[in-house]
């Protein structure tokens, strides 16, 4: 089934209006980059970094994801990655597992619905 853009907010935490505004109301471009997010490998790299407890990489990838999610107006994913990035910077390493669990859950849910666009 093909989901329309405006329906997405019923299923995932996305601010369509904000996202469209960022893309100067070019809906086709917004949809294009939402779809591209599905194929983006940054999350896979973040996952590996967490497995390896590579804090520098965790910070780097979560920071990158924060930026992308912010641009796409994926609100919850943005916040989780922001928290993860800050946790590394503040050396609160004990929060990593909890935050990454939230991250992966939200990421998988988001990607599954974005695939329906």
């Amino acid at each position: 089934m093909n989901m329309k853009l405006e329906e997405l907010s019923n299923y995932i935490d996305i601010n369509i209006e904000e996202g469209l505004a960022r893309f100067s109301n070019f809906e086709s471009f917004y949809i294009k980059y939402l779809k591209k997010f599905v194929e983006d490998e940054t999350f896979t790299k973040l996952k590996q970094a967490v497995l390896n407890s590579n804090y520098q990489e965790i910070e780097s990838y979560s920071h990158a994801l924060k930026g992308v999610c912010g641009t796409l107006a994926l609100k919850k994913l943005y916040l989780i990655n922001s928290d993860l990035c800050n946790a590394i910077r503040n050396k609160n390493y004990d929060l990593i597992e909890q935050l990454f669990t939230q991250d992966i859950n939200e990421y998988e849910k988001t990607v599954n619905y974005l695939k329906l666009l």
């Binding site: 904000e18 960022r22 893309f23 100067s24 070019f26 920071h63 912010g70 641009t71």
Partner: protein, 352 residues
């Protein structure tokens, strides 16, 4: 030429797109760069066309800080805003570092689109105003320079008219004043070009000022009675002594002229008036200065004054040729002069 290029610098395509679309809608040409080095090359290639740069800080190859540092180190004059786009909310250290390196402003990626648009508009408006003020200032500078030149021309005309009027009392047609001006100027230019210590740092304006001052060298003749000034035959000793006073009389006249602009012209004129009859061996007048006790400027006017006087007809003599005049000076027939100035005089008169 209106600046019409916007550079968007971020290694992540997704982060560049909002700015690309924003400026595409506003009919700018947008150049995307995925690292600082790429951006630097484009800055150099389009320096006069760029309207703004939107710059991420974290990039491979050359990051945002690296780009800002390179621009500073290479002394590239940036006349457009460089706006940092960051996700580093409230990171004062990052913000300060970027601003210290020359960034114009910081915009957080996560800000509401309306806020970002307004911030960009404000920054562009500021730079447009700055550009307009710069143009206005440049135009005003041109107008001021023009007016200064008009005043200088007027001053020169006034001074030379006065000098010509005074010189005409002893039969001079006005050529002597212009010749002294031209010869003095040429001597100074040659001396400067050959690196003479006393004049090697003179600017063209300085040389112009000294040449102006030289035309007042005989202003003191206004105080010499006609019967002495225009006597066709040889002066008596007493008459000669009176004639010599045109140096000190001239200097006194110059001293009494108010100099509101504090330019050096009157200082040069005073010196030249007083000392243009000094000779290198101390046998000149009024003070019998020896060698370089006399300023180089007065020495120059002394030698060119003699040269020009020899090459002009007078009531008491015919005009000598330039070669004859030079040889007379070289042979010491008209007093002793600085050997360096004699050499320069040869170069100058051969150009006439």
């Amino acid at each position: 030429m209106k600046r019409n290029i916007v550079l968007v610098v971020d290694d992540q395509e997704i982060n560049r797109i909002p700015f690309v679309l924003h400026f595409y809608k506003k009919n700018y040409q947008v150049i995307e760069c995925d690292n600082g080095k790429n951006a630097y090359d484009n800055i150099v290639a389009h320096l006069d066309e760029i309207a703004a740069i939107f710059l991420d800080l974290n990039m491979p190859v050359l990051d945002g800080f690296g780009l800002l540092k390179k621009i500073k180190e290479d002394n590239i004059e940036i006349l457009f805003p460089i706006i940092i786009i960051t996700s580093e909310e409230n990171n004062n250290q990052t913000i300060k570092q970027a601003l210290d390196l020359g960034a114009t402003d910081i915009i957080q990626r996560e800000l509401n689109e309306g806020v970002i648009t307004k911030r960009i508009e404000n920054i562009f408006s500021l730079y447009e105003t700055k550009e307009q003020l710069k143009e206005l200032s440049e135009n005003q500078e041109k107008i001021i320079a023009q007016k200064v030149q008009e005043i200088k021309d007027l001053s020169f005309n006034t001074i030379s008219t006065m000098a010509i009027a005074i010189e005409s009392r002893d039969g001079d047609t006005g050529n002597h004043v212009n010749n002294i001006y031209n010869l003095t100027k040429k001597m100074l230019i040659h001396l400067r070009d050959e690196g003479f210590e006393e004049v090697k740092n003179l600017t063209n304006d300085d040389i112009e000022e000294i040449a102006y001052a030289s035309i007042l060298h005989d202003v003191g003749k206004i105080a010499i009675p006609d019967n002495i000034l225009n006597k066709p035959g040889k002066l008596t000793l007493e008459e000669y002594e009176i004639m010599k006073t045109h140096t000190t009389q001239g200097a006194n006249i110059i001293k009494r002229i108010k100099n509101p602009s504090n330019s050096k012209l009157m200082d040069y004129a005073y010196d030249i008036c007083l000392h243009h009859h000094e000779r290198y061996d101390g046998r000149g007048y009024p003070e019998g200065l020896v060698g370089d006790e006399c300023s180089l400027y007065a020495q120059i006017v002394a030698i060119v004054d003699v040269f020009d006087a020899l090459t002009q007809p007078r009531v008491y003599k015919k005009a000598f040729t330039k070669d004859e005049a030079f040889n007379m000076i070289k042979n010491g027939e008209c007093g002793n002069f600085n050997k360096n100035l004699i050499l320069i005089l040869k170069k100058v008169y051969l150009e006439l």
